[in-house]
Amino acid sequence: MILNVHYFGMIAEKVACESEKINVEKSISLSEFKSDLIKKYPALKNANYQIAVNQELEKDDFKIETDCEIALLPPFAGG
């Protein structure tokens, strides 16, 4: 399945892109997705962000079963 991954704020800077398509063989949990992503981008190791799947914030145990839109969202401090 194909995951359409979008990066925001400082996360986009750490991975040096705003979005990309990631191919995944079988269904995975969000925590597995996260650790795969850290292998690809070690800079994400201590990063703080929330993940939305198809525009809905989900927890680490959420299973990704089909093609979807994923957003990595860090908090912003500024005002």
Binding site: F8, Q50, Q55, P74, G79
Partner: protein
Amino acid sequence: MLTSKEKYHYDRHLKMEEIGQKGQEKLQSSSVLVIGAGGLGCPALMYLAAAGVGKIGIIDFDSVNETNLHRQILFTSDEIGQNKAEVAKARLLKMNPFIHVETYPYKLTNQNALNLFSNFDVIIDATDNFTTRYMVNDASIITGKPLVYGSVYKFEGQVSVFNYKNGPSYRCLFPDPARNIPSCEEVGVLGVLCGIIGVKQANETLKIILGIGNPLSGRLEIYKALNAESLILKIKRNDEIIKLIQDTKSAFETFDYDLFCGIEKTENGLSSSDFTNLIKEDSIQIIDVRQEWEEPKLVYNDLIAIPLDKIEESIKLLSQKKQIVVICQNGSRSKTAVDFLKSAHGIENIINLEGGTSALENSGFKF
């Protein structure tokens, strides 16, 4: 009740049946507290005042600085050095003499927050740091006030409405405070983005007061100024987290929000005055961990510029004999560098400049 002068003043609101005289009177009898009269607070305040919100509270301890003027549109260069809340009040009353503005020219703390919040209908989070954001969120939950949230990072902004009709809170979105997310002061921000996000906050506030439309409760809007794209994400309420805060109402006043957000009270940092003395002796090495474009530049013989993300690969440049002083804009990235070099590399002859170049500037240091 609206006077005939006020009816004329608000004519374009009154002409719409969705607002009308009834809605305008709701605005007149409503009260909104804006935390921070900065990049987000200024545009939000201008539209709330213009719309006729009857009582506006502004809390800000800070004074107007020249670097504020590219985005904080309530202020002029004549007002540099004056308290932001007071300057904002004078300007807003000129815009709309029919409203009342109350100023609180001091810091919001967990000692004064609950009392202050209880005097207002809606709270606007226009702050610039996580410590205050978590404090404002918790105080809104405890006092039962809707919270209109906005934040910015360079070219991107976030807006949401928290604690509204049993909706989620800021902690449901971000349960754990983030570490090392730089502020506008450190990485910059697009001035007009603050305007866009601040005005969206004003819009959400007016909808809540008027009871029209769909406030952004349970949803987070992310706006990307460079692509002119908006994304709306759904947020779920986390009852466990909210229950915990409501249960600890009495603990709120003693909770250490700085510590919670990773800001430790350091005994070991170097003060601006000690730094000023040391730099005259010419015996230290200075490591500047800011990016190369950041101002003001410090001129010193033994100074090496190493951005924070390059520090590990540049360790061999650090002096083994001299006292090393690490500096940045406000003392937070330099603190990270010092902690890292001490714990991961056992470097001992190293100290952080408390408050960074901002504190130096405030102490009258000549760059």
